[in-house]
């Protein structure tokens, strides 16, 4: 008797601290023929801890090196183009009019764009201050630290990359909550980034119920900034209030539905997750 080959199904996992793990809760949601891990608040906690551990070494790398790593992430994403397009097509989460191929291409180009920002932030955002005294005073941008991202539901890939890339380019580490409606592409992105040069913990991606995860993330006291692209005004207000508890930097974006959406306000996106440091030094022996 001949039988059809039985396909080997995929197990999607969360991406925390560079490792692919099941939700500690042991829960998952069925989506077609695959299961989507349903992350928990403890997963959020682990992810923030991993991002915090990775923050200092990531920020300490040279801007050039971080640019190289982001560019290689773009290379890695492009190399999985066909696969990701089919995932996007199957997974739904299509924003009005944006085809899966166009979404993928835009996501790659957004990564390339922000790869180019790493070594340009300082000259563009910083500078020497012409203070009226014999001092060398200069101001320079620095990453704020660990950034939480609540990604848009759709487009599920571009909407995620548009929020994560600026935070990384600015030297932050990221914990992102994926599209609840269509998390597949985001989970696949984890696998793409997981084999690029991005160090473990610099990006952490969690799937699950947004309402549950976003509040745990936004309320985490060891988060420095929250970027909300959920498009949910009620959630936005909740996140703002939680941010106020530890004076987190909070920003809200409409879902990026094109390359231009993601890069035209690049500096605004970057400034939202950076600090500016001014240093003074005497001039005169």
């Amino acid at each position: 008797m001949t039988t059809d080959r039985i396909p080997v199904r995929k197990t999607y996992k969360l991406w925390i601290g560079g490792a692919f793990v099941r939700s500690e809760s042991g829960r998952s949601d069925v989506s077609g023929d695959v299961n989507i891990p349903r992350g928990s608040r403890k997963d959020v906690r682990e992810a923030v801890a991993a991002a915090r551990k990775a923050a200092r070494p990531w920020a300490a790398r040279t801007a050039y090196n971080r640019g190289q790593i982001l560019y290689r992430a773009a290379e890695a994403l492009e190399s999985r183009r066909a696969q990701l397009i089919s995932v996007l097509e199957a997974g739904g989460g299509r924003a009005g009019g944006l085809g899966a191929a166009a979404e993928l291409d835009a996501a790659v180009d957004v990564l390339v764009h922000y790869a180019g920002w790493t070594d340009k932030l300082q000259p563009v955002l910083g500078g020497i201050n012409p203070v009226a005294a014999p001092f060398l005073s200069f101001s320079l941008p620095e990453p704020t630290g660990v950034v939480g991202v609540v990604a848009a539901d759709q487009p599920s890939l571009l909407g995620l990359v548009a929020e994560v890339a600026p935070a990384l380019a600015a030297g932050n580490t990221v914990v992102a909550i994926l599209s609840e409606a269509a998390p597949h592409a985001g989970l696949d992105l984890a696998e793409v980034l997981g084999v690029s040069d991005i160090p473990g913990g610099v990006v952490n991606l969690l799937s699950g119920r947004r309402g549950e995860l976003a509040l745990a993330l936004g309320g985490h006291r060891d988060l420095n900034a929250i970027v909300d692209a959920s498009g949910d005004p009620k959630l936005g207000v909740e996140l703002d209030k939680l941010a106020a508890e530890t004076i987190k930097r909070a920003s809200h974006h409409a879902a990026a539905t094109s390359y231009e959406d993601a890069v035209d306000d690049a500096l605004e996106r970057i400034v939202a997750v950076t600090e500016l440091k001014t240093a003074w030094h005497p001039v005169g022996a």
Binding site: A63, Y64, G67, Q68, Y71, D109, V112, H113, A115, G116, W117, T118, D119, K120, Q122, P123, V124, L136, Y259, V263, A266, L267, H281, P282, V283, G284, A285
Partner: protein, 486 residues
């Protein structure tokens, strides 16, 4: 000690020559025009020589006036389409070139060393990685030009002619091409007469990157090709790196024209050591400042100014350190100082060193066995140098350092600025406030504090006074290739 003292040991490094088998050079290279290698209109092929052995490496086509004209026409035709590409797509071509330089790093490094005589350690660790980094940096600028020059709308200049020297052939090509292309210009590059090879490998890389035809053309040849390029109608900009004498000729030739010009010329840079410096690191910086690339560096720290209170100590440490330099086969991975680039340059060094001795300065040259063939000059230290001596005034462009002394900070500044050049300077002190004050007072385009000869694609480089004008590197490096429309 109970362990018997052993007989004295001499432990020397065995020869460690870099393998050259992965470098596959053609016997003959044509001109690179319109995306393809081609014969010159009037056939003329000249061998390029390995200065460490005087052996020919490959035959190189030299361009003539007709070739220059054709390259300009091709570049002119290609320019509108190149500029019309979406910025990010133009950037992607540059990212590709950067990646290909990285992928072919070893080949490029070996080629640079064979053709130019510089130690492999430098071509491998400095020239090639920095060349790739420049392309990466400017690739990222291609879609951020407005941020770089704080303008609302910018436009490329058009077609640019670029002439580069023989001391950093690939790196200077990268410094020139990367910003020009990022801004939407098309370019014609003339590599130096004695070191055309890596530029031609870069032409191959442009092909591999599928850069549109005509965006980059490469025309090897001697000064006559450069002169023809400069005087050709149809160019919008000339960028030149080389001697002040030639720079002056170019500026004269362009008098009255609309052709934009940037010049990166010679130097006689002061390296100032204060008594409170970390002296051992200062000595390393002096060595790096003057013996890096055999002193064939426009910003070399060739005028060493040492505070009198530490003059003897620093000079003694420097002389001892010079004795540890390893001079010889540039391909050997342990070589610190390689071959002089050409017979002509060797002669110039010898002439100026002879002048130094005649004028009464005290010469010390490292005693080392130099290869019989090839062009070599032992690292040399001059003491008792007076500011009026030729070796304190003229650019030697070789491994020769002149030591002068000073007493006070004010005197150091005055002496450092007492030059027609103004390319670079070094300051060695442990006191930051002093370093910044001296840096402010120096009339030099680059001032290094407690380091020397560091380069980075994000950091502008260029000179004051007769060292030229215009900057390369960082956002400042975009301006020479852009018009700000509003």
């Amino acid at each position: 000690m109970t362990v018997q003292s052993r007989q004295s040991i001499v432990w020397d490094y065995a020869p460690a020559p870099e393998a050259t088998d992965h470098l596959r050079l053609a016997e003959r290279y044509g001109l690179f025009i319109d995306g393809a290698f081609c014969d010159p209109a009037e056939a003329r092929y000249v061998p390029t020589i390995n200065p460490a052995t005087e052996e020919p490496i490959a035959e190189i086509a030299w361009a003539g006036p007709q070739d220059v004209q054709r390259a300009i026409e091709v570049a002119r035709a290609a320019q509108p389409r190149w500029a019309a590409l979406p910025d990010r797509e133009r950037g992607k071509y540059l990212f590709r070139i950067a990646r290909l330089i990285q992928e072919r790093a070893r080949e490029l490094a070996v080629c640079e060393t064979l053709d130019g005589g510089k130690p492999l350690r430098e071509s491998r660790d400095v020239d090639v990685p920095l060349a790739a980094a420049h392309f990466f940096h400017y690739a990222g600028w291609a879609d951020k030009l407005r941020y770089g020059v704080a303008a609302r709308e910018v436009a490329p200049l058009g077609v640019v002619g670029q002439i580069v020297p023989w001391n950093f052939p690939l790196l200077m090509a990268a410094w020139k091409l990367a910003p020009a292309l990022a801004c939407g210009n098309t370019a014609i590059l003339k590599p130096a007469e004695t070191t055309p090879l890596t530029a031609l490998l870069l032409a191959e890389i442009c092909q591999e990157a599928e850069l549109p035809n005509g965006v980059v053309s490469i025309l090897p040849g001697d000064g006559a090709v450069g002169a023809a390029l400069v005087r050709s109608p149809g160019l919008d900009k000339i960028a030149f790196t080389g001697s002040t004498a030639v720079g002056r000729d170019i500026q004269t030739a362009l008098a009255g024209s609309d052709v934009k010009l940037t010049l990166e010329l010679g130097g006689k840079s002061a390296n100032i050591v204060f008594e409170d410096a970390a002296l051992d690191q200062a000595v390393e910086g002096i060595v790096n400042g003057i013996f890096f690339n055999q002193g064939h560096v426009c910003c070399a720290g060739s005028r060493l100014l040492i505070q009198e209170s530490v003059l003897d100590e620093v000079t003694a440490k420097l002389w001892a350190r010079m004795g540890r330099l390893r001079i010889g086969d540039p391909l050997d991975k342990n070589t610190d100082v390689g071959a002089i680039n050409s017979a002509e340059q060797l002669e110039r060094i010898e002439t100026l060193v002879a002048a130094g001795e005649e004028e009464g300065a005290v010469r010390r040259s490292v005693s080392c066995s130099l290869p019989e063939r090839g062009y070599w000059f032992a690292p040399t230290l001059f003491t008792d140098v007076s500011p009026a001596h030729r070796i304190a005034v003229e650019e030697i462009f070789g491994p020769v350092v002149s030591v002068l002394s000073f007493r006070t900070q004010a005197e150091a500044i005055e002496k450092a600025n007492n030059s027609r050049y103004g390319l670079a300077a070094g300051i060695w002190t442990d006191k930051g406030a002093k370093a910044f004050e001296v840096a402010n007072a120096l009339r030099a385009g680059v001032v290094w504090q407690n380091t020397y000869n560091h380069f980075d694609p994000t950091a502008a480089f260029g000179g004051y006074k007769e060292s030229g004008f215009g900057r390369e590197g960082g956002p400042a490096g975009l301006r020479p290739y852009l018009r700000v429309l509003r």
